[in-house]
């Protein structure tokens, strides 16, 4: 039997203050990165604007490109090289243009200007022939059946559609979307010299191809941003309700001096009942905040897919926490005489290898996704890679200590309802507990 940990015996709760300090530090770093460097960096989905993804045949001269854009009045556009771990030099560039006006007709104005700038800079405008690197499938099929280079006339059927598809596929799949010579098309299925020569007579080749264009109006962006924040909060609330319900009532006990009377007392007693849910949700919220901070530090943008990753994280981070909490509850029944912190320690130790294994396996898969999933999913995968690590840490570093700290603050160091609470009370107030108490009140 291969085992990660033979019989771990770590005093997790004793180290709680370090965990709280570490999390506080991470939150502070993330928060200052965000506030000092101009807020969260939103992607195009949330800020609106135009994104044009261009792939060049040769490594592009960015200064030249920038100058060309400036001539179109796009001096403040952002140019960003796209690099891939698999293909280190993809010759690919992302051009972002801020949404210029609020006027409705201008939605695709940015795109048009970028295209003009590219054409002017790379000398395509001089040629009257259409560019083969940007011809659409429909247009190509129409062109071929009009020219009929194979001399099929009426018997052509859908042969030209198929040919167009093959030529297109060759350009996009074999040549990554940018052909440098029309002669290369000879390698495509069904292309013969007659076809090539007709294409050469009628098409030019731009030294670049547009891979992707995204245009988002300003209104959509603002609306989506609010919606994303709202839906994340809803998801957290949903979690709270579910976990609170699942672990409801675990902590009812004989009231102590702190429980009080009236509304405050009621609220406190209610908190006792849902403390597992609260702690789990606080821990997950902490995961999301730290992930956001790291996003800023590593310069990733928050896009719609990143929100998807964060929401997944909200659900997934709960898993380890639930495993530990389940064990805490089970052990509370078995180990009635032990102090609560000790029960929690044992529970974490007992579940440690499965916590590390489950998170580790999922971590491996998202790491693969991060390294190989391509540029479109990079930020999405980054959120999950970071989030899974932070989420695993927070289940024993934040969620469980929060429950312990709350219990201690409420004057019950042993599991309440066992009748031994009073005896253990003195012990709970020893050592680091005053500091933990403040942490619990936060």
């Amino acid at each position: 039997m291969i085992e990660l940990f033979k019989q771990p015996n770590i005093d997790w709760m004793g180290k709680a203050k370090y965990f709280f300090a570490l999390s506080g530090l991470l939150l502070l770093i993330g928060w200052s990165a965000i506030t000092l460097k101009g807020g969260i960096k939103y992607g195009i989905d949330f800020r609106g604007g135009t994104n044009v993804d261009v792939r060049f045949a040769q490594p592009p001269d960015l200064d030249k490109l920038r100058a060309g854009l400036r001539q179109q009045g796009l001096g403040n556009s952002e140019i960003q090289g796209v690099s891939d771990i698999a293909v280190s030099n993809s010759n690919e560039v992302l051009i972002f243009v801020e949404q210029s006006g609020q006027s409705d007709q201008a939605l695709d104005e940015g795109k048009a200007k970028v295209l003009t700038a590219l054409n002017a800079t790379y000398g395509v405008s001089g040629s009257s022939k259409p560019d083969f690197n940007s011809v659409t499938l429909t247009a190509l099929a129409n062109f071929l059946s009009q020219k009929d280079p194979l001399g099929l006339s009426v018997s052509a059927g859908d042969k030209y559609q198929v040919l167009a598809k093959n030529l297109h596929a060759y350009r996009d799949k074999e040549k990554n979307g940018v052909l440098t010579s029309l002669d290369d098309l000879a390698h495509a299925d069904g292309a013969n010299p007659a076809v090539i020569s007709v294409l050469k007579d009628n098409f030019s080749l731009a030294p670049f191809a547009i891979r992707n264009v995204e245009i988002v109006g300003p209104k959509v962006g603002a609306e989506l941003r609010n919606q994303a924040i709202r839906v994340t909060l809803y998801a957290l609330a949903g979690m709270l309700v579910y976990i609170a319900f699942r672990f409801y009532g675990g902590q009812i006990g004989g009231s102590t001096g702190w429980a009080g009377k009236g509304a405050i007392g009621f609220a406190l007693r209610f908190m006792d009942r849902i403390i597992f849910g609260l702690a789990a949700v606080l821990a997950v919220f902490h995961d999301v905040l730290i992930t956001l901070g790291l996003f800023k530090i590593f310069g990733f943008e928050i896009s719609l897919t990143v929100i998807a990753a964060l929401l997944t994280l909200v659900g997934y981070s709960m898993n380890d926490t639930i495993v530990i909490f389940d064990r805490i509850r089970e052990n509370s029944r078995l180990l009635r005489r032990e102090p609560f912190a000790e029960v929690v320690n044992k529970s974490i130790n007992q579940t440690l290898s499965r916590t590390i294994l489950t998170s580790g396996l999922t971590f491996l898969t998202v790491l693969v996704l991060f390294l190989m999933g391509g540029q479109v999913l990079r930020a999405f995968a980054f959120a999950l890679v970071v989030g899974i690590v932070v989420g695993t840490y927070s289940s024993f570093g934040i969620a469980a200590p929060l429950v312990v700290a709350w219990n201690r603050w409420r004057g019950k160091s042993a599991v309440a309802g066992t009748g031994t609470a009073a005896g253990n009370k003195a012990r709970g107030n020893e050592g680091g507990s005053p500091r933990l108490a403040t942490a619990g009140r936060r």
């Binding site: 039997m1 291969i2 085992e3 993804d53 409705d104 939605l107 695709d108 940007s134 659409t136 499938l137 429909t138 297109h168 350009r171 996009d172 799949k173 979307g177 191809a209 547009i210 891979r211 992707n212 995204e214 988002v216 109006g217 209104k219 919606q227 994303a228 839906v231 998801a235 949903g238 979690m239 719609l304 897919t305 929100i307 998807a308 929401l311 997944t312 909200v314 659900g315 997934y316 709960m318 898993n319 639930i322 495993v323 499965r354 489950t358 396996l361 999922t362 971590f363 491996l364 898969t365 998202v366 693969v368 996704l369 390294l371 190989m372 999933g373 391509g374 479109v376 999405f380 999950l384």
Partner: protein, 545 residues
């Protein structure tokens, strides 16, 4: 083997077969590997981000249709009051949903109220106008507003669908988008179409055709000149319309700066068209024209109308611009033509738009995304590579760490993926790039359940239980935890599905299906494999875990 276990095995194999059949067995039963691959491509539909194409979100300006209704009400009310000889100072539109009527003569008040009651009650409420005791305010009923908005949306959807379909693209998607009754958005997806320009031109075109009587044989060089000639006020029931800059008079002069006085109510509108086609213009060589044919009902009316107005001019108004104003020579039954400075292409496009009908309100683009086919192909490649590699990593680890039980987990995981793909095929769900990420996450999260169970079994063995008792206890005790972990992730995915669109929904769908299937494979299937294995092995032997 005990009969219970036998039926379980049969059931699992049946599920596997059904799933495989729905992935590669449809639409025609495969006899070769290539056919299986074709079937797979047919069954698992790729999203726009993977196959390339254009995605547009546009908003129908439904408020315009409401405002138009208000305008028409002003017209109808004016006419009705004039025929009933009710005196008033002014009937005016205040805003999109309010009409004010000023100074109805007091002795005719009852008559006025009767009129409103008879003809306008359904859609309007009558109230006093704030700050003006001599005026009344008509307010459009909320039910009417939402009815107009709804019908405008439906009509826009249908029109855009007809127009896009006329372009002959493969499998376009045109569907309502956003919150029902609030956002009034339409999603248009054109798979494989790398250049949205043509589609956008066709969608955007208003296509509003009207034939109207010319009320004044003179034309004017400007709006002001026309008003001046009429003494500052246009005759009731008439309007000023500019000539189109695309239209040219017979002599070839520009007519963009010419204004016509036309009757407000059209004799024929675009809705009365039965067909429209382009042809060469016989009078002006090199130019094209559009011929239209009216439906039979409209044709009869038009015949009567032209007969009564022989010798007068009739304007062809397209998009609120006069294209031509020929003189009616004789009774015209059901055909007509639009002259203009058309090329073959523009004439063809216009004919198409006229055939599809006019949009009831203008539209505004909110979003435009074009994924080039090369990026789509890249994404597919990356996605497939990442899926296979992560699957391998997980499988190797499981077998290394849990030995024979790891093989059990691997079988369950593969079945999990098969069910996931089959569910996508059966529901006709679309596989997007985030959807592939969802598949990869399913791989990672799916084995989590196995780990939870296996770790529990190991613990039970350590506590001295026999193999079969440990297996039972392991599945029993891990069950609730597995359900819990799945519920939290699925809850997140459901919120994501409600919030997200397109690719994001694809992610939520694959993740949810994957996790639900995981409950079946990681618990039911995995346990059955264990039970089968336990019946085969020696009672005293140690479980390979």
């Amino acid at each position: 083997m005990n009969p219970n276990l036998k039926w379980k095995v049969v059931f699992i194999f049946a599920v596997v077969l059904i799933c495989l059949y729905s992935i590669v067995g449809l639409p025609t039963f495969p006899t070769s590997l290539t056919q299986m691959r074709d079937n797979f491509a047919h069954q698992i539909k790729l999203g726009l981000d993977l196959q390339g194409g254009t995605h547009l979100i546009l908003q129908v300006q439904v408020q315009e249709a409401v405002a138009q209704e208000t305008d028409q009400t002003v017209d109808r009310l004016t006419t009705a009051m004039r025929t009933k000889n009710i005196h008033y100072d002014e009937v005016r539109r205040v805003d999109d949903t309010h009409v004010i009527v000023r100074n109805v003569s007091p002795d005719q008040d009852a008559q006025f109220r009767d009129l409103i009651h008879e003809q306008f009650e359904n859609n309007w409420t009558l109230g006093s106008a704030p700050g003006d005791p001599n005026a009344v305010l008509l307010t459009m009923r909320p039910t009417t507003i939402s009815a107009i908005q709804e019908s405008t949306m439906t009509q826009s959807l249908e029109t855009i669908e007809r127009r896009i379909n006329a372009l002959g693209l493969t499998e376009p998607t045109i569907q309502p988008h956003g919150r029902v009754g609030r956002d009034n958005e339409i999603l248009v997806q054109l798979p494989g179409e790398g250049d949205p320009a043509a589609a956008k031109r066709v969608i955007q075109a208003g296509g509003q055709l009207e034939l109207k009587l010319v009320e004044d044989p003179n034309t004017y060089p400007s709006e002001a000149a026309a008003l001046a000639a009429k003494g500052g006020v246009l005759p009731p029931g008439t309007e000023l319309v500019q000539g189109s800059s695309e239209a040219r008079s017979r002599a070839g002069q520009e007519s963009g700066n010419v204004w016509y006085v036309l009757s407000r109510s059209p004799a024929v509108t675009g809705r009365d068209l039965r067909s429209a086609t382009e042809s060469r213009n016989t009078d002006m060589p090199g130019q094209w024209q559009i011929n239209f044919v009216l439906s039979s009902d409209a044709g009869r009316n038009f015949g009567r109308f032209t007969e009564q107005n022989i010798g007068r001019q009739m304007a062809v108004v397209l998009e609120k611009k006069v294209y031509s104003a020929p003189t009616i020579q004789s009774r015209i039954e059901d055909t007509g033509r639009i002259d203009g400075n058309f090329s073959q292409e523009s004439a063809h496009e216009l004919a198409q738009i006229l055939r599809a009908g006019a949009l009831p309100a203008s539209i505004k683009y909110l979003e435009e995304r074009t994924v080039g086919p090369s990026l789509g192909a890249d994404s597919v490649r990356h996605g497939v590579q990442a899926s296979i590699l992560s699957l391998l990593v997980v499988m190797v680890f499981m077998v290394f760490y849990y030995r024979l039980s790891g093989v059990n987990a691997v079988l369950a995981l593969i079945l999990n993926l098969v069910i996931l793909l089959a569910a996508l095929a059966m529901f006709g769900a679309v596989l997007t790039l985030p959807g592939i990420a969802g598949v990869i996450l399913t791989i990672g999260m799916g084995v989590d359940s196995n780990v939870l169970v296996f770790e529990r079994i190991r613990e039970e063995i350590r506590n001295g239980k026999s193999s079969s008792a440990a297996v039972d206890a392991g599945f029993d005790k891990a069950f609730l935890t597995i359900i819990d972990t799945h519920v939290t992730t699925v809850v997140s995915a459901v919120f994501l599905f409600i919030f997200g669109t397109g690719p994001i929904r694809g992610f939520a769908v694959t993740l949810t299906i994957g996790l639900i299937a995981n409950v079946f494979t990681a618990i039911y299937v995995s346990k059955t494999i264990f039970q089968y294995h336990l019946t085969k092995m020696d009672r005293q032997a140690e479980l390979s875990i």
